[in-house]
Amino acid sequence: MSQETLMTFAGYGKFFLTLFIFIMFYGYAYSIYKRQRTGERDFEKYSNLVLNDSLDSAPLEPRYKKQNKND
């Protein structure tokens, strides 16, 4: 295969790869705003990770939980 065809292939590859990432990104953006609106998931509560950060305060979403399985 010549350098020329290789470059053409690489060019298309790069274009579609970039397009794919573009779609992923905006899909993600759409999904988080939608999930916030429908109440499926509250993203804004994560701000409290900062405001409530002393070692003896209860974790926002405890990592080691035995009984309470709510998301």
Binding site: M7, A10, T18, Y28, R41
Partner: protein
């Protein structure tokens, strides 16, 4: 899916790395391989010139001088023909610089002489009134590191296949041969200089930094 990812640091890190690395990956392949073919007639640096380039780097000349002429009329009028990729084929590392506190030097060998450099490095403002370049008198007494320059050239030859010792190319040979050749080159430069101390040093078989630096600057054409 993203929620899942955000709670798994390992996979999160992998994803993050791929995102960050993407641009470099795309930019490097496949153009990287074909860049840096030397232009016709381009020769690698001699040992003395390499020692000079090491002085250039040691004193960070590239902090204030570029070696890249852009294709604008104002630049080609001032510095000469714009730079071509192939001219840098043997430049390891590249020394394009990023700031012109002083003028570009990519073709300085075309319009400056040994004598000019000698005076200028000793006291820039005496040659160019108003110059803000520091004086470099220490280059007249410090010795150039020819041994490292030889190692430098030999590494280029052995590791990167730079055509030393080929027909019509600079000869490298053994350390002894290279040292003798560098001294012979240095004598030629010293004969065009006025500084008696430098002449004496070269006559005694020692090569001061200034001689190597001038050899390098004269080779920039």
């Amino acid at each position: 899916m993203f929620h899942w990812l955000e709670q798994r640091p390992f996979f999160f890190a992998v994803m993050l790395f791929l995102t960050v690395a993407f641009a470099g990956f795309v930019e490097a392949i496949p153009d990287f391989a074909k860049a840096s073919q030397p232009v016709v007639g381009k020769k690698p640096f001699t040992v003395l010139q390499l020692a000079g380039k090491q002085v250039y780097i040691k004193d960070s000349c590239n902090a204030c001088h570029s070696q890249l002429i852009r294709p604008f009329k104002a630049e080609t009028d001032r510095y000469g023909m714009y730079s071509l990729s192939g001219e840098y084929a043997y430049d390891r590392p590249f020394v394009w610089g990023s700031k012109r506190t002083g003028p570009d030097l990519h073709r300085v060998g075309n319009y400056r002489t040994t004598e000019w450099h000698e005076n200028h490095m000793m006291d820039p403002a005496a040659v160019v009134p108003g110059s803000i370049m520091p004086k470099y008198p220490h280059m007249f007494t410090n010795l150039a590191d020819i041994a490292t320059a030889y190692a430098n050239a030999n590494t280029q030859k052995a590791v990167f296949g730079v055509p030393y010792d080929k027909k019509g190319m600079p000869k490298l040979g053994t350390w002894k041969e290279a040292k003798a050749q560098a001294l012979a080159d240095a004598k030629k430069i010293a004969s065009e200089m006025k500084n008696q101390q430098v002449k004496d040093m070269v006559a005694a078989g020692k090569i001061p930094e200034i001689v190597a630096l001038i050899a390098y600057l004269n080779s920039l054409k």
